[in-house]
């Protein structure tokens, strides 16, 4: 009887090791983006993997394991933020600011990876988070909707605004540091 139990544990671990563990780096990267602190990101990653291991029987083999893990992490992060009193709802003002960007300056050329990261850092978290999940982690709208527990429409609008804000920040950042002098205005 005990041998049988051990066999089940072994199989469960092997499945987990094969399906979930390869995404540890992705989890840490997104965790780091969410909390911006090494220790907190490590805690969040470890907590997520532990929770995933305990709930691995609920994971449906063949579905997107990375998205499943990200959903767990997003929920855990929301709980942690709520505990620490850091949970902020997307305020109307931020939504309005994002909506009212009438003029979009041309994007400079010759930008570096660091410039992009620096500009992304300046984009409010609610928008940059969706940009990271869509453009870096390459999740579909539906998956992002599940991960962040928000409607698909909200994902789409935040992504649109997030990308726009990123371009604006990138242009401002480049202008401040004299990057990309070949700005061209829209002709037509």
């Amino acid at each position: 009887m005990f041998g049988f139990g051990k066999q089940i544990k072994k199989e469960n671990w092997e499945n987990f090791e094969r399906e979930a563990l390869p995404f540890s780096d992705d989890l840490y990267r997104v965790a780091m983006w969410m909390v911006r602190d090494v220790e907190e990101a490590q805690d969040l990653t470890q907590e997520t993997l532990m929770q995933a291991l305990r709930s691995f029987h609920r994971y449906e083999m063949g579905t997107n394991c990375k998205a499943w893990l990200m959903t767990i992490m997003s929920h855990l992060n929301s709980k942690r933020r709520m505990k620490l009193g850091r949970l902020q709802l997307v305020e109307d003002t931020e939504e309005k600011i994002a909506e009212t960007i009438a003029f979009e300056p041309s994007i400079p050329q010759n930008i570096t990876d660091e410039d992009v990261l620096e500009a992304l850092n300046r984009v409010p978290q609610q928008f940059s988070q969706v940009v990271v999940l869509a453009d870096v982690e390459e999740f579909a709208y539906k998956e992002i909707s599940n991960i962040l527990d928000v409607p698909i429409g909200t994902v789409m609008s935040r992504l649109h605004r997030g990308r726009k804000l990123l371009r604006v920040e990138l242009a401002n950042y480049a202008r401040n540091f004299g990057i990309g002098t070949e700005n061209k205005e829209v002709a037509q």
Binding site: D25, Q46, Q109, I111, D113, L117, V136, R163
Partner: protein, 255 residues
Amino acid sequence: MNCRDFREIADSYLSDELIVETNHEVFQHLENCPNCRQELSTRREIREKLRVSLKTAPEFQMNPVFAKRVKADLQDAAFQKKSWFNWKVLLPAFASLLIVIGIPFFLFFQKNAPPNLFAEISEKAVERHEDCGLKHYKDWEKNIGKLSAEKISFVKSLESEGTQILEVHNCKFEGKSFIHFVLRHNGKIISVLKTASENAAVTNSNTEDSIICKREKGLQVSSFKIGEDLVFVISDMSEAENLSVARQLFDAAKI
């Protein structure tokens, strides 16, 4: 399609989310617009840089030592022997079990509980005190000091300067026979009624050494079992005073 329209949908075009017709319009516009071609190329470049920079930036890379430790911890947790004791699971399970087992037991004992002999007989004893003890006590004052020692032996211990034994007789009420002692204590009439317990075997054994006190029809009733007999002390005294009389009788009878 003009440049403004194109810029609005350029990201969707890059993500390949547009329908065929719109894609066709985009192609047409891009063919004739070098600025938008440049814009599209820059946006593509930003996405790529964003993806690469986040995936390669040192601060976003997991420390290999930490990665190794997490894997070891996970492996330990995976093979850890699970404790069977889990409050979250066991508490509701115990509660349910208690309900499932407890309810039939409760119903069974309710149905088969021994009849409360004291309760049934004390009603009759109270009737005797009211009809016989209280109504006729004046008639019995002439008996004071004349009752034979044998007749009053059960309540003799109560006799003192403050307590007089007025009467002893047998009385029957609704098929129940009592030996009825009528006493006067500090001006108050007390009935002591003694009767045979017909169903002594089923009387709760807890009552063997205790005196039960209760109020019935505004009177204080203290009852106890002594041998095969049930004894009721009834008066309109306070509970403590009535109990004190009953205890004195109980102690004397035990000796």
